[in-house]
Amino acid sequence: MSTLAAEFRNAYIHGSGPALATVFTPIATTNSPHRLSSFYDFTNAQYLTQDLASSLFHGKGLKVSKAEQTAWVNVFAAYWEAVGEVLKFEDGHSEASAAAIFKAWKKMAMALNKGYTDAGFPAWTLPCMYTVGKFLRTFAIKADNEAASQSSTTFGVLDDVAADVEKNAYLEDGARIINRMFTLCLTDRAPIEDSRKWGIYNITSLLFKTYFKINSVGLTKNLLRAINAQSHELPPLESFPKSHIVTFEYYIGVIHFLDENYTEAEKHLSTAWRMCHRQAIKNRELILMYLIPCHLVTTHTLPSKQLLASFPQLELFFRPLSNCIRKGDLVGFDAAMAAGEEEFVKRRIYLPLERGRDIALRNLFRKVFIAGGFEEPKEGQPPVRRSRIPVVEFAAALRIGTHATGRTRIDIDEVECLLSNLIYKGLMKGYIARERGFVVLSKNNAAFPGTGV
């Protein structure tokens, strides 16, 4: 205990939030492998409050109001209980459980929240809230996993509906506490220099993460509405630390992405990408996982070789698709979509990626146009590409790579349908002269807008 108490006093005297948060990190470190056990062993349930009060606040140098002292002692007492559960669990004790750790940690989180509402914990201690909130979520997920494995071994397959409700019971419970933290940050009335408002984006991201996990993405909208309603009292987003901004922008981007609002999604994901720490490889990869499909949909551009080169996972996901799109290889595109389907669906990127098929088709038809060459040159005039293309040429192009034999019937209606679809989407400019079996394309480098021909 002496170590944790000393760390607490030290952090408090220096007003260091991160150092204070370290005190409440329920993990033994390599530097101090016994930090949890020595804290737990220093007292017992009977003398807990007394021992905490004297070791935390007796002595010189620390000026803390009586109410705040009591509140910290309560937080530490709950922490002590939780650490006991963690140690039991690590020792493989027969009565230990992830659920018990969660319940104890939840009490601690509530004690901490109470410290902010009733005892005036200062805003510089916010990193404690981040740490306690983060582990509340972690322990809740562990407890849910534990419950799931127990119920499947004890009862076999449960009723699906009941199982679904129960599946995230602990995390949903935890989400309510984190939501309380959200309110504590958002509605703090203190002057901005010493306001918990500086914690709002960090805690919001933690809640986003939690809602994503329990499949309640819809609930994120409530948080955003609440933030928007207070926006005039919040410091501008740019003035927050970059870790807060990047994480928040990432989640906002993904929320828009899931709403198929790709333009808006791209804006936020691009901000997250630009500001992201270069060494945060995993996070950069996640941002790109959604930014790449956005780019495909909004600007019809593909990730460059350089971009994919540093991310093996993304290379695997997007390289085959990109190559097929660029080549106009529909057969290959369909194969790549089928090969990646499971992962694409899991990441919820299947839908926008599928839109790449139109781009692949545009590129194939564009190649038909280029293969058509030029009209008979007129004297003194620059060469003009042949702009009347028989529909049957597009039909033939669609058969390349399909192993169609001479006897395979072509459905001209279907080809015309694909053509009119591209024209409708503005990827191709012209019209179909049906009775003559031609497509008449725009002249003056406007047949395939934006592609130079």
Partner: protein, 85 residues
């Protein structure tokens, strides 16, 4: 959690074929906490030394891509189509 090492990087350098299935990802594959709270723009993705997004995105079509091969393939298919007509 941050102590997880992503699987699936081992095979990445092998030619990614279309048929190859993407590797299965970590179960808990979510945005990680940054080890530091704030950093200079210099250390960010887009800094003065690492300008812009220009090199990140490419046009989705490719004119150099064996146009002659394509013409040949197209002619062959056309012959087949005409033969079947």
């Amino acid at each position: 959690m941050s102590n997880s090492t992503p699987q699936g990087k081992a095979n990445a350098s092998e030619q990614p074929q279309q048929q190859q299935k993407p590797q299965v990802l970590e179960e808990d594959d979510e945005f990680e906490d940054f080890p530091v709270e704030d950093w200079d723009q210099e250390e960010a993705e887009q800094s003065a030394t690492n300008e812009g997004n220009d090199h990140l995105w490419e046009e989705s079509w490719d004119d150099d891509d064996a146009a002659e091969d394509f013409s040949k393939q197209l002619k062959e298919e056309l012959k087949k189509v005409e033969a079947s007509a």
